[in-house]
């Protein structure tokens, strides 16, 4: 029997429309808007001002604390302003506007396709370079990678888990990357292993991607310590804690980090970015984005410069279909609807999903019928119906005792609810309030 995580999970229709589409390089946009907060942690501080000329790869915003990261210019041209503009939430966030002029790169960046296998630097230097290159977790959570690689005192990493699961329906960016950049990913994994000082790495891939499993299995023969684990298709297997449970059988305790069971999880996209940063000296300034949807003419996978407006991606994928009801940044389960097409692609944008009018609306909310399906599908073993009620009634201290902070916001409960209750809406709201409560207590 195939491995998977032990509790909960759902299996939504996969709809991987763009899985056979090669990664295309998106033409350069005319302008970009690069937000300074593209990661978890403190927003970076802009170091350019209006009128400055920048080249591709220039640092335009510097890391402001340990849990923060550098942001590089993804284009060459002139900074038109450093100002606030609406991000995917509609609230204005600080960022840098650049008018694109040509495509000049900073010297020292190797843009060739040649594979560089030899690793010439040691562990701490790799971590330092990862930090400088502005690499964050590209699975969507955008946690700065260099922080993950340095375990807290007294803890030791034993195994590196590489997340090639891509359990979100529709998304295919990681899948394509594994097929087209397998060797680069392998070298990236070697680099991460060296940085952490571990000699074992496991790539977890769901078995709806047999071509990727086969290819990476072949590659494993020539890279020491790396193996591939095929997994049963089950959402949310790409969740850090779920992947650890599926591959190693260990359970991360409530409130603890994966390092508590000796594991560090990184996405395949991150491994590729690490390869480029260290072997090619290229900072993180572009990423693969899946643009998909049933009504879309040409679902595709694009290699996109950070800061490109959403509208350009949709244009390249055949234009906005008339009956579009909702555009989601990310996958259908965890992604967020965006309110404007000016929203830029950031380091965490794994996909854009255009939903048709008829599939985008929620059903009418009905009373809870106590079927307990939400409880049985919750991958964290929580009681979503209870957490929702506590959020609704604003009983936050009890919600904390019921481990509301363990919720990974995967949305399996809302997906499975036969009464279409907005479970996750209220739980996320409660999580925000409880989080604020905990932070104010620490002060």
């Amino acid at each position: 029997m195939l491995k998977t995580f032990k509790i909960g999970g759902v299996h939504p229709p996969e709809n991987k429309l763009s899985k056979d589409k090669k990664i295309e390089v998106l033409p350069l946009p005319k302008t970009v808007f690069i937000p300074v907060a593209q990661h978890i942690g403190a927003p970076s501080t802009p170091v350019v001002k209006k009128g400055d000329e920048v080249k591709v790869g220039h640092v335009i915003a510097q890391s402001s604390s340990f849990v923060s990261t550098n942001i590089h210019s993804s284009v060459s041209g002139k900074v038109t302003k450093v100002d606030f503009s609406a991000d995917s939430s509609g609230y204005p966030k600080q960022g840098i506007f650049i008018a694109v002029d040509g495509d000049e790169w900073v010297e020292g960046i190797d843009r060739s396709e040649d594979l560089v296998k030899e690793i010439s630097i040691d562990g701490p230097e790799i971590v330092k370079k990862i930090q400088e290159a502005g690499i964050v977790g590209l699975g969507g959570a955008t946690f700065p990678t260099h922080v993950k690689l340095v375990p807290p005192k007294g803890m030791k990493a034993e195994v590196l888990l590489i997340n090639g699961v891509e359990c979100e329906p529709y998304l295919t960016s990681d899948h394509r990357l594994m097929l087209e950049k397998a060797d680069e990913i392998m070298v990236g994994i070697q680099l991460l292993m060296k940085a952490m000082g571990v000699d074992k790495a496991v790539i977890g891939i769901e078995n709806n991607k047999p071509d990727a499993i086969k290819l990476l299995n072949q590659k494993c023969a020539s890279y020491k310590g790396v193996s591939v684990q095929s997994l049963k298709v089950q959402y949310p297997q790409g969740g850090e804690k779920q992947l650890i449970n599926a591959v190693t059988g260990k359970e991360v305790p409530s409130g603890a980090l994966p390092i508590a069971v000796g594991a560090v999880v990184s996405n395949v996209g991150t491994a590729f970015a690490v390869y480029e940063a260290i072997q090619k000296n290229k900072p993180l300034l572009e990423r693969v984005v899946t643009v998909t949807g049933k009504g879309l003419k040409k679902p595709s996978n694009f290699l996109v410069r950070v800061g490109t407006a959403t509208s350009e991606l949709i244009e390249a994928a055949g234009g906005l279909p008339e009956n579009t009801g909702k555009i989601i940044s990310g996958g259908p389960m965890m992604g967020r609807a965006i309110a404007s097409l000016d929203v830029p692609v950031t380091k965490g944008t794994s996909g854009l999903l255009l939903m048709q009018e008829e599939e985008s609306k929620r059903e009418e909310i009905q009373a809870c019928i106590r079927c307990s399906r939400c409880t049985s599908v919750c991958p964290m073993g929580l009681e979503p119906y209870l957490l929702m009620t506590l959020g609704e009634k604003q009983i936050f201290d009890r919600a904390e005792n019921e481990r509301i902070m363990d919720c990974i916001e995967c949305g399996s409960c809302s997906y499975t609810c036969p009464s279409s209750r907005p479970l996750l809406d209220y739980i996320r709201f409660g999580k925000g309030k409880v989080g604020a409560m905990i932070r104010s207590r620490k002060k």
């Binding site: 609406a86 995917s88 939430s89 509609g90 609230y91 204005p92 909702k326 967020r336 609807a337 309110a339 404007s340 985008s360 609306k361 929620r362 909310i365 907005p422 809406d425 209220y426 996320r428 709201f429 925000g432």
Partner: protein, 288 residues
């Protein structure tokens, strides 16, 4: 048979007497002294338990009143000056007269004034909508219209306008408890001084964007032009973050600001209709 009845009565009587003696001493030993004035004050309060005074309920407020040395910081907004006078006479303190207040919702972003650019499909409460995104229009400061204030009001003083979807306050029912002020995630609601005949002059906008951005999102937005600020003879208007604010304690209801506001963001309510404007004459004068 009869002797059994006597035994029973005697036994129970003895147990009863013993228990009474024990209870008496226990009651003496663990006696909790409570100021009888707390009950009196509690009696004098409206008993709405709305929390508008800042205490958990009327009883807690009564305890605070009895403990306090002056009533300066204590006020029951529901009962107003009358109730506070009664409380003061019970406690032998002096009541501090406070201006009655009334809630006002500072947004006029109706569908006509503020076009919708997206629609929200999640759980319909303002708290959740505002935690997810900025709102259905391009104004991130305006009313979301899901009625958290309506739900919070214990006095039926808020109605959701069926056409505009924006809540309205019924002045005569509003007791200024402040529950709606806390409920609004956009901080749109303010407790303002109650003027004679419920008259109002208010900047009905909280948009802090630059003029152009604000105006594009909503035709009645405050664009921060400062015209009202310069016009006001009583220094009641302050400008901060591209937004004018009228201090209801200083405002004398002269309405000069209303006349100069280019976007009609300043609203006057409950005034008799204005007389025909003299400006019409001025236009004709040069022709003659």
């Amino acid at each position: 048979m009869s002797i059994t009845v006597v035994y029973t009565i005697v036994t129970l009587a003895v147990i009863g007497a013993a228990a009474a003696v024990i209870l008496y001493f226990v009651a003496q030993k663990f006696k909790v002294f409570e100021d009888p004035r707390i009950d009196d004050v509690d009696e004098a309060l409206p008993g709405a338990n709305c929390g508008g005074c800042g205490y958990a309920g009327c009883r807690a407020f009564a305890e605070a009143c009895v403990k306090a040395s002056s009533l300066g910081d204590l006020n029951c907004p529901v009962g107003g000056n009358e109730t506070m006078n009664n409380v003061a006479s019970i406690l032998g303190l002096e009541a501090v007269k406070k201006d009655p207040r009334v809630a006002y919702i500072r947004c006029n972003g109706t569908c006509d004034n503020r076009p919708k650019t997206s629609s929200f499909n999640g759980a319909t409460t303002c708290a959740i909508a505002s935690s997810v995104y900025s709102g259905e229009t391009n104004c991130q400061y305006g009313c979301l219209g899901f009625g958290d204030c309506f739900d919070a009001c214990d006095f039926d003083a808020i109605v959701m306008h069926p056409e505009t979807g924006i809540p309205e306050i019924i002045d005569d029912k509003c007791v200024a408890c402040g529950a709606c002020v806390d409920a609004c995630p956009k901080s749109l609601i303010e407790l303002r001084k109650k003027m004679p005949k419920n008259r109002k002059v208010v900047v009905s906008c909280r948009n802090q964007d630059k003029g152009g951005v604000a105006r594009k999102a909503c035709s009645v937005a405050c664009i921060g032009c400062s015209k009202c600020f310069k016009e006001c003879p009583f220094d009641a208007i302050t400008m901060e973050n591209n937004l004018a604010y009228i201090d209801s304690d200083k405002c004398k209801l002269c309405r000069k600001c209303v006349a100069v506001c280019p976007t009609s963001a300043i609203i006057e309510e409950n005034f008799p209709p204005r007389k025909a404007k003299p400006e019409v004459k001025k236009e004709t004068e040069p022709v003659n």
